[in-house]
């Protein structure tokens, strides 16, 4: 722990969110391990042993994170700009959701436009077709040259064949 010691700031909110997520992950691991019928076997160690160790370890690390936040020993978090993060996240969710109904090219074009918007290019009339064209070309490479099946939309199926 070599953060900036004693900066005098109030405890960081982010540290508590991180600690909460760690506790949640550790609790899920412990809960799942408790469902495993663990006979122990010859060595007394079965498949449930490691998740239990990791789960308790995560909870201990969460406690250490909270303690570090109170003592101000954690590294300072740089200022973040939330809007681009939300844009990229929304684009990623839209891509995953649209991948099968709308096809690879359209879904990835939307992700491209959202990412471009996050980086400051808000002109959707330019970025949407550009992203669509790029993803269309990538689909062609994967489908034609590498014979990898990406989920195709109606236009991909029309041009490159099913």
């Amino acid at each position: 722990m070599t953060g900036t010691p004693g900066t005098g700031r109030s405890p960081d909110g982010a540290a508590f969110i991180i600690a909460g997520l760690l506790v949640a992950f550790g609790a899920v691991l412990l809960w799942d391990a408790s469902l495993i019928p663990d006979k122990g076997g010859y060595a007394g160690i079965g498949p449930a042993a490691m998740p239990k160790v990791v789960g308790w370890g995560l909870i201990a690390l969460a406690a250490a994170t909270v303690a570090g936040a109170f003592k101000g020993r954690l590294a300072a978090v740089p200022r973040q700009n939330p809007v681009p993060l939300l844009l990229i996240g929304a684009g990623l969710i839209a891509q995953i959701a649209l991948l099968h109904p709308a096809g690879f090219a359209l879904a990835t074009g939307i992700l491209f436009a959202a990412t471009a918007a996050a980086f400051g290019k808000r002109n959707l009339l330019l970025t949407l077709p550009l992203g669509y064209a790029l993803a269309f070309g990538i689909y062609g490479i994967f489908d034609g040259l590498l014979r990898l099946n990406l989920p195709g939309g109606w236009l991909e199926t029309l041009v490159y064949g099913g």
Binding site: M1, T2, G3, L22, F25, G26, V28, L29, D32, A33, I36, G46, P47, A48, M50, P51, V54, G55, G57, L58, L61, A64, T65, G68, L74, A75, P78, Q80, N81, P82, P84, L85, L87, I88, L92, T115, A118, F119, G120, K121, L146, R147, L148
Partner: protein, 304 residues
């Protein structure tokens, strides 16, 4: 020695012009496909399997070797320029090489990766040819205790040596261990953390995680720091050839690692100057200490 004879026979086959051409085609194709993030050497070989259908066994095997090495090398390009490792082997290249590219030294970084791949590949192949029978004996001696010790060494190294905070390192180590428990336990066949979802039974692949952490992480990090478009694209400056200074630096680093602990004197000299009396170098600070009352240096090298 029969190893030599077999090796010479193989080299004689490989030296035929057509075979060399196949090797060239294989390396080019392998690099082109290996550059794509998320497609590692093994997948590259699998993808390009149909290309070699028309060749004789020697030609197709050598082309596969070319594809494999091309794929191994191709991952370093995206690692350096985009901070996106194509497979698990080039994650370390992303850690170091991308920093070089951001400092405007992308050309030398690419050249170092290429030449490093060549030298290391050559040495590894030679070692494999000659040392493999002996290393097998060593590998068979390795039991559970030795594997456990190796794992502990790896875990301690990544959590303590990488990054600036041990807490962060340990936290990421445990998150990784937690993610690794997802799927079917390889020893007992017990499904863990799958919640009845069949897709989770296979676990989470290293490549998926590497792309998610490095490519997406880099993208989100840069996006969160931008305030408008004040970013600039860092051109690949500098010659792609390594200069004499680069050669010197790369080899000096290697030699330095070897000789690092060998001499107290060299160690102290490399570590630089005295902490409290920066006008003096370490050894001078000790020698010049009047009557032995000169404050002790806090550096580890001077405690000996």
């Amino acid at each position: 020695m029969s190893t030599f004879e077999f090796l010479l026979q193989g080299l004689g086959t490989a030296m035929q012009p057509m075979i060399l051409l196949y090797a060239l085609i294989g390396v080019t194709l392998g690099t082109a496909v290996g550059v794509l993030p998320g497609i590692g050497p093994a997948l590259t070989v699998a993808l390009l399997l149909p290309v070699t259908y028309g060749l004789d066994p020697a030609g197709s095997l050598i082309m596969f070797a070319g594809i494999y090495y091309g794929g191994m090398y191709g991952g370093s390009t995206t690692s350096i320029l985009l901070n996106t490792p194509g497979e698990s082997a080039s994650i370390v290249t992303a850690l170091e090489g991308n920093r070089m590219a951001k400092a405007g030294r992308g050309g030398p970084a690419l050249a170092t990766a290429a030449i490093g791949s060549f030298v290391a590949g050559l040495l590894a192949t030679l070692a494999l040819a000659f040392l493999a029978p002996h290393i097998v004996k060593l590998a068979l001696v390795f039991g559970p205790r030795e594997y456990f010790a190796l794992m502990m060494l790896a875990f301690v190294t990544v959590s303590a040596a990488f990054g600036e905070s041990t807490l962060k390192g340990l936290t990421s180590l445990f998150i990784g261990l937690g993610l690794a428990t997802i799927g079917i336990d390889s020893l007992t066949g017990q499904a863990r953390m799958s919640f009845g979802v069949p897709q989770l039974l296979d676990g989470i692949e290293v490549t998926t995680l590497a792309v998610a952490m490095f490519a997406l992480g880099e993208c989100l990090f840069v996006a969160a720091q931008t305030h408008g478009l004040d970013d600039k694209v860092e051109a690949i400056k500098g010659s792609v050839r390594m200069t004499a200074a680069d050669w010197k630096r790369s080899s000096a680093r290697l030699a330095a690692r070897v000789g690092h602990r060998l001499s107290h004197r060299g160690h102290a000299r490399r570590r630089g100057r005295h902490r409290e009396f920066p006008q003096l170098r370490h050894r001078k600070a000790h020698v010049a200490s009047p009557g032995g009352v000169w404050p002790r240096c806090h550096r580890r090298c001077c405690r000996a």
